[in-house]
């Protein structure tokens, strides 16, 4: 192949390659600050809501040590049964125990104003990401379509052709040449490291990360912050509590024999 069949005008470097890169970096930084501005302070939970949210940790803490529990049986049973009763009766629910025989329905995310707020916040950041990226892509497509911007300093296999030469339909060109649109995508996915240097660890400049998280995907699976049906969770936790109670043993149960053996007062084999 004739390697030097293409000669890139330095003007392309100065007026196309650098501007695209610079614009993308600046847009990323700008996006970061816009997202920071748009972020509303976390909503304060009411006492009842906090209690509801944290009720599960109580039983989790109890269960965590149940196989070797630091507390004696009578105390353990009391706590465990108390929790179980409370979960069954719905004492910890935000709105109090369910009344009458109306079937408890799963909360609808669209009717709960708190949930809507969370979703709107997600949409807002999405928009801040989408709009400038669409504008930049349109700009590149309109002005620099078919431009070849750089030549990579290393050879690549033919498989990279679709990645590096998007927008140029030539079967014969060496894969090392990178087209303008491909340069845009390389920047789009690759600038995160640079943003981290400029803006610190948890910046919101990187657009490619948000691509994977659509605001509507969150509706299916429950995310933190999304409404959860605590009633259902509590009911499930009751089974876990029962299971843990079966596993329960007190660490101090046969402590005297253990200590006596440790200090050689009792032989190890005898029970």
């Amino acid at each position: 192949m004739d390697r030097l069949s293409l000669y890139l005008d330095p003007q392309i470097r100065d007026w196309v390659l650098f501007p695209i890169t610079l614009v993308m970096i600046l847009v990323g930084v700008l996006r970061h600050y816009v997202v920071v501005l748009l972020q509303s302070p976390p909503k304060k939970l009411s006492r009842a809501a906090t209690r509801e949210q944290r009720a599960l940790t109580r039983s989790q803490i109890l269960r965590a040590t149940s196989a070797n529990s630091p507390i004696p049986p009578s105390f353990y049973k009391a706590i465990s049964q108390n929790l179980s009763e409370a979960f069954k009766a719905g004492t910890y629910l935000k709105d109090g125990p369910p009344k009458g025989d109306a079937p408890p329905s799963a909360p609808n995310p669209l009717s709960d104003p708190a949930a809507m707020d969370g979703m709107m916040a997600g949409m807002k950041t999405q928009m801040v990401m989408m709009v400038p990226q669409m504008v930049i892509m349109g700009w590149i497509n309109f002005f620099f379509q078919g431009f070849v911007l750089i030549k990579l300093p290393f050879p690549l296999t033919l498989g990279f052709k679709s990645m590096l030469q998007r927008g140029i339909d030539t079967p014969d060109m060496d894969v090392r040449w990178v087209s303008s649109l491909s340069w845009y995508f390389l920047n789009f996915f690759g600038l995160n490291g640079l943003y981290r240097l400029i803006l610190g660890g948890d910046n919101s400049a990187d657009a490619s990360r948000d691509m994977t998280a659509s605001p509507f995907a969150a509706m299916g699976n429950t995310q933190p912050g999304q409404p959860q049906d605590f009633n259902k969770l509590f009911k499930a936790e009751r089974d876990n509590l029962e299971f843990a109670e079966g596993l329960y043993s007190w660490v101090g149960e046969n402590m005297e024999t253990k200590i006596l053996r440790k200090y050689g007062k009792l032989p190890y084999d005898s029970k």
Binding site: R47, T50, F75, E256, L260
Partner: protein
């Protein structure tokens, strides 16, 4: 003292969360005078918070006000600053003013843990123990994982001679920090005071098991009990005596009586003797050795 060492000491106090107010105040004043605040960067704000608390502690309210002003200007509406302001109010104003201040904040944000805890402490301090307990129970029902709160509840109950309740609060502390022998010791002593000797002796033995350093190379029989292990052995000895005096005692928590009480008593005696035989490196005699030896030698029943 140089600025550098003052800053280091302050940072050490912050990390260990010690309340060495006089020390913190002296060092903090030095930092303020030498204009070290700018040097601290973002750490400066935690330093100011620390200095505010310390100067309230030592009664230099002028310095406290100065610091508080700086922090409040930087972080308006911060719950942490609200808490500091509350403490400053408590320092000079009557408790009613402080309670009013806390009530106003809780009205707006009912789940503000820091303010809620301050309010409970003011209630307890002013003698409204019943109200304080009610609030504290409600608080712990919401923020179950607050170890400090559970300890406070256990303490309030203990001061009211409600040792069973105190023990119940301590079981929650144990659940939250199962690896802390000091809380286990406190629970054991509370159980002893509540006259639940079978439970107490097993808890004391658990403390021994947790702290006797059986992961070291030395043989346990030849090691010397140190620190709270000695205290736990004292507890074992006391409980063993009580149980030996009354072999069919009932435990309120239905804990079974330990087997081989005599052996346990013998072991505790031996351990205490070892602990008091070899205090210090130069073979000097431990303080109170005579008394301890006489006490452990007394007959079991």
């Amino acid at each position: 003292m140089s600025l550098q060492s003052a800053l280091e000491q302050l940072a050490a106090h912050r990390i260990k969360n010690t309340r060495a107010s006089q020390d913190v105040f002296r060092n903090g004043l030095l930092v303020l005078q030498k204009k070290g605040l700018k040097k601290l960067g973002d750490d400066g704000w935690t330093f100011l918070e620390q200095l505010t608390l310390a100067s309230i502690d030592v009664g230099r309210l002028d310095i406290a006000d100065q610091c508080l002003q700086l922090i409040a200007d930087k972080f308006p509406n911060s719950p942490r600053v609200d808490c500091l302001t509350g403490i400053r109010i408590e320092a000079t104003e009557p408790p009613e003013t402080a309670l009013k201040y806390y009530a106003d904040i809780l009205e707006a944000d009912s789940a503000n843990a820091g303010i809620w805890k301050r309010r409970i402490s003011v209630l307890r301090r002013t003698g409204k123990v019943e109200k304080a307990v009610n609030e504290l129970v409600q608080f712990l029902d919401t923020f179950y994982t607050d170890v400090e709160g559970w300890l406070e509840l256990a303490d309030i109950y203990a001061t009211c001679n409600q040792y069973e309740h105190s023990l119940q609060a301590l079981t929650h502390v144990l659940l939250l920090t199962p690896q802390n022998p000091f809380y286990m010791l406190q629970a054991a002593e509370t159980a002893y005071t509540a006259e639940d000797f079978p439970l107490a002796i097993k808890m004391f033995l658990t403390v021994v098991d947790m702290t006797d350093g059986d992961d070291s190379e030395q043989l346990l029989q030849e090691s010397t009990p140190l620190g709270i292990t000695v205290r736990a052995w004292f507890g074992v000895k006391l409980c063993a005596r009580r149980i030996a005096q009354n072999t069919n005692m009932k435990s309120p928590s239905n804990t079974s009586l330990p087997k081989k009480v005599e052996l346990l008593d013998e072991l505790a005696t031996e351990r205490l003797r070892v602990a008091y035989s070899s205090s210090g490196q130069k073979g000097e005699i431990a303080k109170g050795r005579q008394e301890v030896f006489a006490w452990v030698a007394a007959p079991l029943a």
